[in-house]
């Protein structure tokens, strides 16, 4: 997943209160053309998905007919039934859910604490540690797969949830983003809380967290999507099909479907569906999460 750079400004509602675009004249030929063009582009983008759904509803022999047919002659959900019956797809759903939830939760907790530590406390070596963290942003996880796998074999974490989760929790860029954000939060609230006798841990929980809800939301959303869809690391660290996440399981076990395209497409649809539904329902929050966090350009 690409990294996000978020600004420290706690700008919120104002940006989206109107959400309108450029002011445009009422009715012009150009405007109609743009609308039509935008819809055509959207349809073009949807065609692969629709084609996958279409194929998944065809009886197997119909999938390889030429010339191709658009609508299934005799729609059937046999392919879905077969996938759910024979495969481990439900197990992989469970694994993906567990992994994505753990990664998201731990990333939020660990990164928030670290960001607070770097932003608000002083301790010897803080600058050096923060420098190391910044350098860590430059290390692409992809180049670590080989030594990391070795390490996991040493720790006995191959084929475990922790083995999948822990390396994904190390996201220095998230700490960096949150630290920058915390730097911009006024110290007044914190001082007031301290006068009231709050511990620093409590300050994090009841001052910093509520203040930075939008940025935490953006971190959570993209961490979750990233963890759910992550392919490379789970692919490396799981060998037991019972431990695989959805993307890895589908990639490894597809061979057993042989030639059955309807079945392959049914498993693809099932694998893509959960986040698609979530996105359809929470589109506004997702789009806003990015905007709320304030993209620094």
């Amino acid at each position: 997943m690409a990294t996000l750079t978020l600004s420290s400004r706690a700008s919120r509602a104002s940006r989206f209160s109107r959400g309108s675009g450029p002011v445009q004249p009422r009715f012009t030929f150009a405007k109609v053309a743009i609308t039509v063009g935008s819809v055509l582009l959207a349809l073009l983008w949807l065609v692969p998905l629709l084609w996958a759904i279409d194929t998944s509803l065809k009886p197997e022999p119909e999938t390889t007919q030429t010339p191709i047919t658009w609508l299934p002659g005799a729609p059937t959900i046999d392919a879905y039934r077969n996938v759910l019956d024979q495969g481990s797809i439900l197990r992989w759903f469970l694994n993906s859910t567990i992994v994505a939830c753990l990664v998201t939760t731990l990333t939020l907790v660990v990164s928030t604490l670290a960001a607070y530590g770097f932003s608000r406390t002083t301790f010897p070596g803080r600058r050096v540690l923060f420098g190391i963290l910044i350098a860590g942003i430059l290390v692409p996880p992809q180049v670590l797969i080989v030594p990391l796998f070795q390490e996991m074999t040493g720790l006995g974490l191959v084929d475990t949830y922790w083995g999948i989760v822990l390396p994904q929790v190390v996201a220095p860029v998230m700490v960096f983003v949150l630290k920058k954000f915390f730097d911009g939060v006024s110290r007044d609230y914190e001082d007031a809380a301290r006068v009231d006798g709050a511990t620093r841990l409590r300050i994090v929980w009841s001052v910093m967290v509520p203040m930075s809800r939008p940025v935490l939301g953006a971190v959570a959303i993209f961490t979750f999507i990233g963890a759910w869809n992550n392919f490379l690391w789970p692919f490396i660290v799981t060998t037991d099909p019972a431990m695989m996440t959805i993307p890895v399981g589908l990639a490894n076990v597809q061979g057993s479907y042989g030639l059955r395209y309807a079945q392959i497409m049914a498993s693809a649809v099932l694998g893509g569906l959960p986040l698609l539904v979530v996105f359809a329902l929470f589109q506004r929050q997702v789009v806003r999460g990015v905007g709320d966090a304030g993209i620094k350009g």
Binding site: F149, T153, D240, V277
Partner: protein, 435 residues
């Protein structure tokens, strides 16, 4: 929608629900993850059988499970070739490997058996009724490394000829017994393909151009070509013979007797839908074509050149290395292996020639049609060259695939393809062996 817990919406109220949910799930998994509740012996089996083979194995496994209520049995099929072997090696390195897995015999030595596999207890195997005498001696000795048994052979699987009986009937290729007439020599071979092409209007035979190794190795073997010297360190490939084989493959594609480009699924599809009346492939797609209810039979691959040699390999069972292997599981694993061998007539229905000789002699196997039609080739199965980078789906085959597929497509001359392949092989030979 599946019934598994859907991911919580990554919207606003996530924080608390996420925390609670995740911790709850984590708690639940530590409980189930350890799985110490099951009293049964556990056997997890990994295999690389897709398509018809996979379906067949599933049925056999169902029977095994029904007969062994005391064994918790799970089987998984992984994508054939490098994905399977890479995963298997990584699982053995990771210490949580499955109890038993299939492995091509040609890959045994390259798999680093002494570190990545656990030896198979011969005494337990004998107790289960399987001994050395039940196999062809050469096969058995190939399964030994450093005096230990690391693999138990299940079958052997040569490259064969599939033919569509209706199309071949029309092409006049069938004998009075309904079997395809044996052809010998390049000209007869080409005539056969042309006759079929005439009928189908498309291709003579379907081939896998993306993996041309098997056809090339068969043809090169039939020309009595050698690959490595005795010591296994020098490449002694015979250029003239290698190019002769490649030129034949180029000619097949150029004349439209085979496709210029076709992957494995297309190979199957073209034979199934009648675009091709013949198919050059390993014998493992029987089930697929039987399921498709198409009129077909099988025969040994033609002896196109001088001697009968047929590229092939053998499937074996191995026990991947586990950090702490339980005796109970091992006993159950050996029982599984023995049971599979004794019931391999059913497996043979998928096309493979059983390795366990009592089954080969059984009427149950001999009555299988067309699966018993080519059993005569078993002694002439030509294994891949012996090297750590060689074997089914290993790097040497990939290098051949990368170089030779261009020959079919007409992108590359046989000479250039051979040069590329030889350079790649030399590079592999120069690479220090990691096993």
């Amino acid at each position: 929608m599946p019934h598994a817990a859907p991911p919580p919406p990554p919207g606003r109220p996530t924080r608390r629900t996420l925390l609670a949910g995740a911790l709850g799930l984590a708690g639940a998994t530590t409980l189930t993850g350890c799985g110490t509740f099951s009293r049964d012996a556990r056997v997890r089996e990994w295999n690389l059988f897709g398509g018809g083979d996979g379906a067949r194995l599933l049925q056999i496994h169902d029977k095994f499970v029904a007969e062994h209520k005391d064994i918790a049995f799970e089987a998984y099929t992984l994508a054939w070739g490098p994905p399977f072997y890479t995963k298997l090696a990584m699982s053995a390195a990771g210490g949580r490997a499955p109890e038993v897995a299939t492995l091509h015999l040609s890959r045994l030595k390259g798999f680093s058996p002494t570190t990545m596999l656990d030896p198979i207890p011969v005494d337990l195997l004998a107790k289960a009724g399987i001994t050395e005498q039940d196999f062809i001696p050469d096969t058995w000795s190939r399964c030994q490394v450093d005096g230990q048994l690391y693999a138990v052979p299940l079958d052997s699987h040569p490259f064969v000829l599939y033919y569509n009986t209706e199309i071949c009937q029309q092409a006049g290729l069938l004998g009075p017994d309904g079997r395809i007439k044996t052809v010998k020599g390049v000209d007869a071979f080409l005539d056969m393909l042309r006759a079929v092409k005439e009928v189908t209007g498309k291709f003579g035979a379907s081939v896998e151009t993306t993996n041309p190794w098997r056809l090339w190795w068969t043809l090169y073997g039939q020309l009595e070509g050698k690959f490595f010297d005795e010591s296994g360190t020098q490449l002694i490939i015979d250029d003239a013979k290698a190019i002769e084989a490649l030129e034949l493959m180029a000619k097949l594609a150029a004349d439209g007797l085979t496709p210029k480009s076709s992957d494995y699924p297309s190979l199957v599809a073209q034979f199934t839908n009648g675009d091709a009346g013949l198919s050059f492939n390993g014998e493992w797609e029987v089930t697929t074509y039987q399921t498709a209810k198409m009129p077909f039979s099988m025969a040994p691959f033609p002896v196109v050149y001088d001697v009968p040699k047929f590229a092939g390999d053998a499937h074996t069972f191995v026990m991947p290395h586990q950090a702490d292997r339980s005796t109970k599981d091992t006993e159950a694993t050996v029982e599984y292996i023995a049971w599979m061998l004794k019931n391999s007539a059913e497996w043979a229905a998928g096309g493979h020639i059983p390795a366990y000789q009592p089954v080969v002699a059984s009427p149950e196997y001999l009555n299988l049609k067309p699966q018993a039609e080519y059993r005569s080739v078993a002694p002439d199965v030509l294994f891949d060259p012996d090297a750590w980078f060689s074997g089914s789906g290993a790097q040497l085959q990939n290098e051949a695939g990368a170089a030779f597929s261009g020959v079919y497509a007409g992108r590359m001359t046989p000479k250039a393809a051979l040069d590329q392949f030889k350079a790649a092989t030399r590079k592999l030979l120069d690479t220090p062996s990691p096993v």
